[in-house]
Symmetry: C2
Subunit: 331 residues, 2 copies
């Protein structure tokens, strides 16, 4: 089997930590081993700290290589949150270090959304929406002059429309509308606020001093989904979220040809109260879109990119920021 | 003239500093003197710092009294932002100190919204909306068992719907929608973003690290008003803001009898693009409301409350938090 003896490395670096996987290059089989670290890579003055990432990745890979009975990695892909804007240190230091230490000849440095895309759709043209606390959509037509199209991902004050913080915030507002006797309020959501946060009057004091306000807002999204089947206001919040999510997906869909669309991230856990209006909105806004289950997660995506590099069949747009490729000669 | 020889004191304490005015008790004529301080009163562990307030108020009043050729203040009213939730130190220390130092027999401690109400409507039943960066509505029917009704004022993440930060935020979102190619975007607002903040991609980095995010958001509200006459999306943001503001006013309007409604605060400066839909919305939502110009500002309101105390004809609800009254015997 061509490349059956080669190994590839995938790394997924995000806000909750690192995952590192070693897999065979020549097949789509599961990784031979995965190492997880709950220590998120530090961001310093020069962006994401390459030394801190390497300090966790190198020992993990050496252990994985030893367990697999090999010593070299043919290709590697690192997907990291903030790669496009904060990845300078990674782009400067990872290619040489991974070549010297692990024999990596080909390295991809990818934005987390690119890794999510690769995991969800592989090298198919379309759009992937990654929706958790925030929300970002990424699409490509994989054409010869293809680019990555991005939509939203602007954070909880400027956008992330339809994401977890957006839904939770709208739910809290609807609860306080009911508390005040203003229009468009929901007594069902007000009841959920009382149970979850205590007296409504104390809510500002519990939210504004926090540094993780988006997460606090997003923590109320499941309550909105719980109320939606029997509360008109909650249902309307989710249908408006669905409209926003479909708008982001539609904005990045390829303009012609095939268009596969997948949704990934924690927001999917809200289930049918969100997903039913979302599929209806997507059909209305992007009739060509073919909705599909995400095949894998961002770590799967990083492994797929590494395998494509090893097999020399990477078709994703390489723009140096969302996706950066470097090559080293064999030693 | 009854009470013509008596003097009253009004204080307006807010985020941008202090204003202190001395006026005759028995007439509505302008204050004989006003002292302004640009030093906002500190908030400490026990709330608004009474010592810091007194340190500014006492010398100012002594100078005003001397200029007026008198030595005693019959009644005083202090309106302060945060009075209801952070006014414990003021309620504990001001009555005795002002009685001892200035001979004040009757003292009112009022939330800033109560002072704004008194300034705008005087002792008439109705609703006042104070709208600047944030938004709060306050109403009362002045009945024998009357209460203050409050609506909104929950801050930029939970409410303040229709206020300056709300309008500016919606405008920035619409600009970024156009940037992404998402639905409901405005290229006119995107152009304003470029002029005001530079490249859209840099906007998150300019907003999120700030501690005065609501003010940054509100700084874009005038651009929305400027675009509204020729941009459908901007006009829609202002009509939705108008709907929200009218909802807050309607929620606090007296349930029966007269209902005067006044709008105060910097948001009025947005002019017809906001005020025209606002008056239409208010008519639709609260047909009994009689829209009226605000007669005065919160400092005028504090003087009015002090005059009503001196003349023993205060009709506002005294609930101990929004409005707290204390009385000391004559020395």
């Amino acid at each position: 089997m061509t490349g059956g003896a080669e190994w590839v490395l995938g790394v997924d670096s995000g806000g909750s930590g690192l995952r590192i996987a070693l897999a065979r290059a020549g097949s789509e089989e599961r990784p031979s081993g995965v190492v997880c670290s709950a220590e998120p890579v530090r961001t310093g003055p020069s962006g994401i700290d390459a030394g801190h990432l390497l300090g966790q990745v190198l020992p993990a890979v050496r252990a994985l290589l030893e367990a697999a009975g090999t010593r070299h990695v043919a290709a590697a892909a690192v997907g990291a949150a903030g790669m496009a804007s904060l990845g300078d240190d990674l782009r400067a230091r990872l290619p040489d270090t991974l070549a010297d230490e692990l024999g990596v000849r080909r390295l991809a440095l990818a934005a987390d959304a690119v890794a999510a895309y690769a995991g969800a759709l592989g090298q198919r043209p379309g759009a992937v929406v990654a929706a958790g606390t925030g929300l970002i959509a990424l699409g490509t037509d994989l054409g010869p002059s293809g680019i990555w199209r991005r939509a939203d991902g602007w954070g909880h004050l400027l956008g992330d429309c339809g994401g977890g913080a957006w839904i939770g915030r709208a739910g809290l507002e609807a609860a306080l509308r009911a508390h005040d006797g203003r229009g468009r309020g929901s007594t069902a959501l007000l009841e959920r606020v009382r149970e979850k946060f205590g007296p409504p009057a104390e809510l500002p004091g519990k939210l504004y001093p926090r540094t993780d306000r988006p997460a606090v807002l997003a923590s109320f999204a499941p309550e909105v989904a719980r109320c939606a089947p029997h509360d008109r206001v909650a249902a309307r919040i989710l249908s408006e979220a669905a409209r926003n999510i479909a708008e982001a997906a539609t904005a990045v869909c390829p303009r012609e040809g095939d268009c596969f669309v997948a949704f990934t991230g924690g927001l999917l856990r809200l289930g049918p109260p969100l997903m039913q209006p979302l599929l209806a909105e997507l059909t209305a806004q992007a009739p060509r879109a073919r909705c599909t289950e995400a095949e894998g997660d961002p770590l799967d995506g990083a492994l797929r990119i590494a395998r494509a590099l090893a097999a020399d069949n990477l078709r994703f747009p390489v723009d140096g920021l969302m996706l950066h490729i470097s090559e080293r000669r064999s030693p």
